[in-house]
Chain length 217, copies 2
C-alpha cells in the first residue's frame, strides 16, 4: 500500500475548505493552479496531493469542484460519521461540544464525561455529560473507538489509559502532554503550544530584525 505523507493529509482539509467556498460561489470547476495561488502551496505539490485522492483532472479546465470535494471527503473518511466520547468538559471541552463543524468532518460526539459532579447530568449543545464512573460501561456498550482528551495536563496520561482499557483506539489529544500508549493506538495531538511556539519565535525574530534595521539608519 502507498503510504500517504502526513503533510498531504494536513493540506487536504485546507483544499476542502476552499473548494466548498467555491461551490457556494457556484464555480463548477477548479484548477490546481488556482488552489496553489490561494493556498501558497506549490502547484506541483497540489497536483501530487490531489492525485493521491484518486481524482483526475481535465486539461484546460481543471477538476470538477463537486467531484473533488467528494474525493477528499471520502479519502479522509469524512462522509460517514464516527461516534466518539469526550473526556473533560471544561472550557476547551465545552468549546468542542459546541463546535458544529465537527459533524461536517465525520465526527459525532455522543457523550461527554467530567469529574466535576456539578456538570454531571447537564447538557451542552445536546450532548449529555456523565460522571467518569459511567465511562467504562458506556464505552464498551456503544463500541466507541475515538476519544477526545480535554482534561487538565495532570490527568492526561491516566485518562488516556482508561480510554484504551475500554476499547478506544484513537485519541485526539488536546493536552500538551505526550501520551505513552501501546502500539497500535493512534494518538493525534492538537498542539496549540507547538503552534504558539512557531508564532512566538517568528514574531520575536521579526521584531528583532526590524529593530536592527532601524538602528542601522
Amino acid at each position: 500500500m502507498v503510504s500517504i505523507p502526513v503533510l498531504t493529509l494536513k493540506r487536504l482539509p485546507q483544499y476542502l475548505e476552499l473548494l466548498q467556498q467555491f461551490q457556494r460561489e457556484g464555480q463548477s470547476h477548479v484548477s490546481a493552479t488556482r488552489l496553489a495561488e490561494i493556498t501558497g502551496v506549490h502547484v506541483t505539490q497540489v497536483r501530487k496531493d490531489l492525485a493521491l485522492t484518486g481524482v483526475v483532472g481535465v486539461p484546460k479546465v481543471g477538476h470538477k469542484t463537486a467531484e473533488l470535494i467528494e474525493a477528499i471527503k471520502s479519502f479522509l473518511n469524512w462522509n460517514d460519521s464516527s461516534s466518539c466520547f469526550l473526556v473533560g468538559a471544561g472550557h476547551l471541552g465545552s468549546a468542542l461540544l459546541g463546535y458544529q463543524e465537527l459533524s461536517r468532518k465525520g465526527l459525532s460526539i455522543v457523550a461527554a464525561f467530567d469529574t466535576d459532579p456539578a456538570l454531571s447530568g447537564t447538557t451542552v449543545n445536546g450532548v449529555k455529560i456523565y460522571g467518569l464512573d459511567r465511562f467504562a460501561n458506556l464505552c464498551r456498550r456503544l463500541h466507541i473507538n475515538i476519544g477526545i482528551l480535554t482534561v487538565p495536563s495532570e490527568h492526561a496520561q491516566a485518562t488516556a489509559q482508561m480510554m484504551i482499557d475500554n476499547g478506544i483506539v484513537a485519541i485526539w489529544n488536546f493536552t500538551p502532554v505526550h501520551l505513552d500508549v501501546p502500539e497500535g493506538v493512534i494518538v493525534e495531538n492538537v498542539d496549540m503550544s507547538a503552534s504558539l511556539a512557531v508564532l512566538s519565535h517568528r514574531l520575536a525574530e521579526k521584531l528583532h530584525h526590524e529593530t536592527k534595521v532601524e538602528r542601522s539608519h
Copy 2:
C-alpha cells in the same frame, strides 16, 4: 542568520513540558537520551533541536534541567509576556480566555471583542469583552501586535484585515480559513481540521486493515 526548522520549533514545547515535569519531580539533570525515549523523537534529533537553543550538555550526566528550561523559554521568547487581543468570544474564544496556560507561554490576552451586544461589557476570567467598534482605537493605543482569531469562518478574512489595518503583525488563526495577508504579516494556523484529517485517515486505514486480516483467516 541560521533559519530554524519549523518542526524543531514545534518539538520544543514538548520537551519543555517534560522538563518542567522533571523539575517538579526534583531531577536536576536530564539527558537527550531520556527525552528521546519518552517523546519517541530520535536521540540525534533531540540533540540537534537542543543544540539550536544554544545549550551545552555534559557527557555522562546530560543537561541541567533548569538551564534547559530557561534556554527553551528564552529561545521561544516565552519569558517576557506579549499582550494580545482576541476577536470572537464564542465557545472557542472563551475557552482560550479561560486557558491559564497561555500566560506561562508568554501570551497575555488583555481584551476580547465580539459582535454580539449581549457579550459586550461582560468579563471572562478577568478579561473584558468589548464591541468590535472599540477595536481600532484600543489596538492602536495599546500598540498590540498579536491577534487571536476565533470568529466564525465567514468573518475570518474580514476580521484579519481589520487586525492588520490596526497594526497587528501576527495572527493566531483558529479558523479553518486560509487567510490572505500582506507580506510580513505572520499567520499561524491552529489546524484542528488538519489534525482531525490525520486521525480520521489513520483510523480508517487501521480499521480497514484489521478487517482484511480477519477475513483472511
